[in-house]
Amino acid sequence: MMKKSRRSFLKVAAVSAIGIGAAPAISLSSSSNSQSTSNAVKSKNHEAKTAKRWGMVINCTKISDEVAENIVEACHKNHNVPDFNHEVNTEKYPNTRPVNHKQEVKWIWEEHFKYAFPDKEDEFLADKYKNLPFLVLCNHCKSAPCVKACPTQATFKREDGIVIMDFHRCIGCRFCMAACPFGSRSFNFRDPRPFIEETNPDFPTRSKGVVEKCNLCAERLAKGEQPYCVEASEGAIVVGDLEDPDSDIRALLNENYTIRRKQTLGTEPSVYYIM
């Protein structure tokens, strides 16, 4: 009973709603309720992009500073990620206190090689790599330490490999932030809304006191669309099914030498970098 989550409640609610419109469906599905649930969800979203395990390949050679900036902006704007450099509308938000930039929120951002790959730091690293912008984000690890750490299952792993959060369940203990070896998580130290220039109504804003991070644009994939970063990347970022040998992403992995961040820790990151 305790396992009955908000999500499963929503599923049941959705099925019930369909049931009201189509009474015969109830008698059909009464023998196997769970199956009819998944059928109902599938029939609603046959446009959705699906995968056994989502992964990402970032072609670092194709990402210039400009492209990187566009990607970060596309992601953050559309996900209502607060920008602490944004000038606060004092009429709407009077008495907003000064910001502490160390408390910023970010989902995807640029790092130099030695920070993105601290375990691969090299005295004699080729110059061309030294100043490249490496985009870092949640790795959607196959064995995610943050999922293990979360004491309320507010961070959980979907069947398709996406590590995602329920912002309404998170108690803000920040154990996941201590657990993540990639610094991919941010905490809302304050109400983020005064720092959102233009709110995207299609995605929730967060409240103070919860953790957040990249969700691999699960909300876009569900509508059959590509993630924002992929769209803005001018072909440098590809997402796809790592488990499907015929997928584009597997072709890329087959043709190129790729590296992952801190793979020796065994968390099995799903984000690959073409050097």
């Binding site: 160390k102 108690i171 201590a178």
Partner: protein, 385 residues
């Protein structure tokens, strides 16, 4: 028995009033944090736990340290500890209440705390920490109360309390082991990722807890007619001595492994703490102070005539308490989070509000401790007199 708590001298009430004032200041600071979020703290994206969790870790140790009087008395029939066992148990209660409150003020959404029980997550170490901390608190409340009540009525404690007493021993070890596991099971934090962490936590706890207890014995002797007994205090000081030596030894083991293996992900944290990293060195004076205080503490406790000096012992205890506090709270948090997983150096210092909230919690802990100790000492005076 509670009626004892409302009959006290002028000093007793002044002391409680002072604590209440400090607590109120803490509450005021917390209201601000509750409304505006943890932006009021010095925490950051890179250092996401700070003063609250640091003091939490230390106080879990103080609570666990109480077992150092329970084991000799209940398992080895060491009679000298008969008088102070209750002091150890009551200290544990106050420390645990502070621990739980420090967690409450640390979370971003305290109103959602019940989610811990609505969605129990057995794969999370925090789940077990909540269980053992509350379990140990419950055990100590029941045991302490029943044993004191029995003493007042001059009967043996009910038989059913004994299994609980024995159960409280693994629980005491458990609270600190699980608290260490919170840290040492995380793959990306080289400073914490060491099997010696739980033993080190326990060693430092068994030094810090009994040190606090010795100090409290002095306070009790000065302000009440109850004498905990000098011999019991001396035995405690020996326990502190060996535990402190173990703590420093475990630390040196860690230093050897880290520096001889020379793995950067492990070296950089200790380098930051003791020598500074990339010019950031705010922890350096603290850490060396801690080491020096612990070494002096060992020297003062290992030499018999210094250890047996009734005047010197409280100062030794204060040094050890400060030394282990820096080591386990400040050092454990700063060392773990700096440098960050991406090897950026973001330093941390608590804000005044953060310190005020923490002091408010300490004040409440002292209020609980004062009342419980008043009960214990009054009952013991009654029985004796």
């Amino acid at each position: 028995m509670l009626e004892i708590a409302i009959k006290g001298s002028k000093k007793y009430w002044i002391w409680l009033t002072i604590l209440l004032v400090i607590m109120t200041v803490g509450v005021a600071a917390y209201i601000d944090q509750f409304i505006n979020g943890l932006m009021t703290t010095g925490l950051s994206r890179d250092v996401s736990w700070g003063f609250y969790i640091a003091n939490f870790t230390y106080l879990v140790g103080v609570a666990a340290g109480g077992v150092m009087v329970v084991i000799p008395f209940y398992l080895h029939d060491y009679e000298k500890f008969h008088r102070i066992t209750i002091l150890g148990e009551f200290l544990a209660i106050a420390a645990l209440v502070m621990c739980l409150l420090l967690v409450v003020v640390d979370v971003g959404q305290p109103v959602r705390l019940l989610n811990l029980f609505l969605y129990p997550s057995p794969q999370s170490v925090l789940f077990y920490d909540v269980l053992v901390l509350n379990g140990y608190l419950g055990l100590n409340i029941i045991i302490g109360w029943k044993v004191l009540e029995a003493e007042r009525n001059q009967v043996r404690p009910p038989a059913w309390t004994y299994p609980l007493i024995y159960l409280s021993i693994p629980f005491a070890i458990g609270i600190h082991t699980v608290t260490a596991y919170l840290y040492c099971g995380l793959p990306g934090r080289g400073f914490w990722l060491t099997a010696i962490l739980a033993p080190r936590f326990l060693a430092s706890a068994f030094a810090a807890g009994p040190s606090v207890l010795i100090l409290l014995c002095y306070v009790v002797r000065k302000f009440t007619k109850f004498d905990p007994g000098w011999e019991a205090m001396q035995t405690l000081s020996k326990i502190v001595c060996y535990a402190l030596i173990a703590n420093v030894f475990f630390f040196l083991c860690e230093i050897f492994v880290v520096y001889y293996s020379n793995i950067p992900g492990h070296v950089s944290h200790i380098q930051y703490l003791f020598f500074g990293l990339h010019g950031y060195n705010s922890m350096v004076p603290w850490m060396w102070t801690s080491i020096i205080l612990m070494l002096i503490g060992i020297a003062l406790l290992i030499i018999p005539w210094l250890r047996n000096n009734e005047f010197l012992l409280p100062f030794t205890c204060v040094m050890i308490i400060i030394g282990t506090w820096i080591d386990k709270s400040l050092g454990m948090i700063a060392g773990g989070f700096v440098p960050s997983p991406l090897h950026h150096v973001t330093e941390y210092a608590p804000t005044i509000k953060e310190v005020m909230i923490t002091l408010g919690i300490y004040a409440l802990g002292l209020i609980i401790l004062t009342i419980l100790y008043k009960l214990a000492t009054t009952v013991k005076e009654e029985v004796r007199g």
